[in-house]
């Protein structure tokens, strides 16, 4: 298990390195005349050159990247070109908002999706047909369209929740809940559909497995077989799907934060990519890459714990 972990960690470091290199090169190639953009058309060529030099942009690209890499490895992602805010500070200010969303969605999805899936897979019948239809619908409708409908029904028409804005949990727990509930639900619907569908089919598949049949012939209570054997073996694929959904969740958060006016990482990404603020974009890309790496590692650990066989491969 330790060797397995070490291997995965090594692969993650390579992944982060490649991501940072590719992103840095592409961004730098596109942003050729940053000093001019910053100072405006009327600035003198000397001033522009001085600005570029002060940002370190007059050096060869590889040197710039190496410099970035060394600093980033120490946790220093530099300052924004446009607002001279520290990248880490800017991200740190907005991270709690997005984390609230992501954690809320993941917990809600895991719990509701898992329960629905198990229920449908074990009971079959009406609840099974409901989960089937729900999962097709969740997949078929674009997430932001569902979000629009949710905003209109629950915020505009019923006025149960505010349509826009964010209250930090440190200020008021109730306020935080009221601003976070609709976005979390909006992001969770398709994820729940996906998890429920996956859990349902793996529960049905595992329940038909030879070893379940054999256990049943030894007079074990059905409940015990279901909870100890079927669910354990059926949970691994669901965990994989949950991990993949996390990658999609980062994208979904961009749109949902924009619609609900939440000052999170997603909204920040839109703002800074529009301006081509390379240090900030690098910070954001690395943040999401690290997020993905952590989630994948957790998923691998979880699967290794559930399925001993996975530990050796």
């Amino acid at each position: 298990m330790l060797a397995f972990l070490a291997r995965r960690l090594g692969a993650s470091v390579v992944l982060l390195f490649v991501t940072s290199f590719v992103t840095f090169m592409l961004l730098s190639l596109a942003n050729q005349d940053v000093g001019r953009q910053l100072l405006g058309i009327n600035a003198s060529p000397e001033a522009v050159a001085a600005k570029n030099a002060s940002l370190g942009l007059d050096r060869p690209l590889l040197v710039q990247y190496a410099d970035w890499l060394v600093r980033a490895a120490q946790g220093d992602f530099g300052r924004s070109w446009f607002s001279s805010e520290y990248v880490t500070v800017a991200i740190g200010n907005r991270l709690p908002v997005t984390l609230s969303l992501v954690i809320g969605v993941t917990v809600l999805t895991a719990v509701v999706g898992y329960l629905l899936g198990v229920w449908a897979g074990v009971r079959r019948g009406g609840i099974d047909r409901f989960v089937q239809v729900f999962s097709v619908a969740g997949y078929a409708l674009p997430g932001f369209l569902v979000t629009i409908v949710i905003v209109i029904v629950f915020a505009v028409q019923l006025r149960w929740f505010p349509a826009i804005g964010y209250i930090p949990i440190t200020q008021s727990v109730g306020g935080w809940l009221s601003t976070i509930t609709l976005p979390v639900i909006a992001l969770s619907i398709s994820a729940i559909a996906g998890i429920a569908q996956q859990v349902r089919s793996s529960v049905i598949e595992v329940a038909r497995a030879d070893y379940i049949r054999t256990l049943a012939t030894r007079g074990l209570p059905r409940r015990l077989i279901l909870f100890r054997h079927v669910l354990r073996n059926a949970s691994a694929p669901a965990l994989t799907v949950l991990g993949m959904q996390f990658v999609g969740l980062l994208g979904g958060a961009v749109i949902v934060e924009q619609i609900f006016g939440l000052p999170g990482i997603g909204a920040m990404t839109i703002q800074y990519t529009t301006r081509g603020d390379v240090p900030v974009i690098m910070g954001l890309v690395m943040l999401s890459a690290v997020g993905v790496v952590i989630i994948n590692l957790l998923v691998d650990l979880g699967i290794g714990w559930l399925l001993p066989k996975a530990r050796i491969s």
Partner: protein, 602 residues
Amino acid sequence: MSQQAVIPTEEADAVGAAQTKAPGILRAIASRPLALAAAIVLLLIVVAVVLAPVIAPFGPNDAIPRNAFQGPQPGHWLGFDTAGRDVLSRLLHGGQNTLGGAVIALLVALAIGVPSGLLAGYYGGWFDSASNWVTNFVMSLPAMIVLLASRAVLGPTVWVLMVVLGFLVAPSFFRLVRGAVAAVRNELYVDAARVAGLPDWRIIGRHVLTVVRAPVIIQIALVAGIAIGLQAGLEFIGIGSGNIPTWGAMLNEAFTSFNRAPLLLVWPGLALGLTSAALVLLAAGIRDALDDRGAEVRGQTARERRDLVDERRRERGGTPADGRGALLSIRGLRVAYRQPSGPDVEVVHGVDLDVEPGQIVGLVGESGSGKSQTAFSVLGIIPEGGYIAGGSVLIKGAELVDAGRARAAAGRRALGYVPQEPMSNLDPSFTIGAQLTEPLRFGRRMSRAQARARILELLAAVEIADPERVFASYPHEISGGMAQRVLIAGALSTDPELIIADEPTTALDVTVQAEVLGILRRLRDERGVGVLIVTHNLGVVADLCDRVAVMSDGRVVERGDVSQVLTAPAEDYTKRLIGAVPDETIVRAPWREPALSGKENS
């Protein structure tokens, strides 16, 4: 004991069946009402959008400002938008950009994913490893973040972003094609084509492309839906190409003025939702039709099972046990299976069978003769969709058929089951010890230590040299022969009086087969258990059994003492079965553990 009867199995036909089942995609669509409806809706939308310049009454940007926000009226069937533009015209023209963007993403993804998948799957090697690495890398990137970042690089043109999206979704095609190609590469008919000297490109074109066509079409529909959704989402939050009309941009405008004109949100929302839903339903429909899923036999619910038991009990008016005192006594057993359509199909037509204590009875027949179904009925593990349609099964005089779950379970306590495939019959997630001790700990309330001692004893009894090590091992850490001994120990753990073994040696090496049969014989000798052994192998019968029953087409055609049936068979069928035994041939290859990683690619 090195002979095996050659009895035809279904496996040989699998390849032929796969070929004859050509993916008639149009037929598949037509066979599903929902898929057909989705296809028609999609076709209408595409035609209307393509013909937009012809059928749209106005240009997309023709504005009459004083008409802004006005509702539907003659000539402007969907009314005017926030700037006084005709909604219908804007919807039709906008569709060109929205659907066009999806087409670009698709073309890029197909152009990258399909050829690379073909190459990687067909040739393998370094290209396969490299492209797999790239695929995993790309798939771990959050698409939306990459799109936004590339917007910083490439400028705010939706078309360019759709090219990027094409790159991001190409891995899904790559994986699909690679998996399918790698699967058929070693099929016999592809080998034959290669031996016949066909050039690689013709083999790929003829055999491989036909295999991947259907899955690729399904994936196209799904990816188109994703592309449309993502693109519209980007435009909706205001990251678009400025004043080019698209459904996403229309939604954006309508959303900001929702209070004044809620209907404006409905039209682009409907267009987007319908297109997206039609694509997904179409994909699901084609897949279900080709897999013949959805036509899946519905399993019984608890209520249906209860009703069925009650009904049968009423029909029979209670079965008298007519003094049959054998360990196992089957009379007139019928087993039937529900069908997706049409009446149920009966596969066992009235079988009688007895096993006395201390007796080893062989139940032989070729694949599909109903021998395993008979054994499954006794054990209460008939596969989904199947049920006992009639007859009586007594264990030590207690009726199992229609007895209700609790009483049947009590009756079956005297049974132990030894299955066919050793590996697939052990739960891979638990150690051998954990799964073997469960019936003792939870069924018989033994303490952990007692159960452990008992199982170690049984593992030693089935001739396992190092019981402690096997007890602590996971199933993937032991060999197939070892696993079969473990399963025999598992069958013994409940102290059964009758062991039902379903082809217990088929999956094993020849030397291990003899040892396993030896164990069964010794158990009978030492413990006096009865054994019902289901097999297609007459060698096993000759070696082990006291009595034998020969099954064909769901009926017992001949029964008697082994020596009599094998040396002087009365029935033609039995004679043919005996005549079909070749000398010194092994029919089935030993069972090998399938690779775990193959699953990801499906």
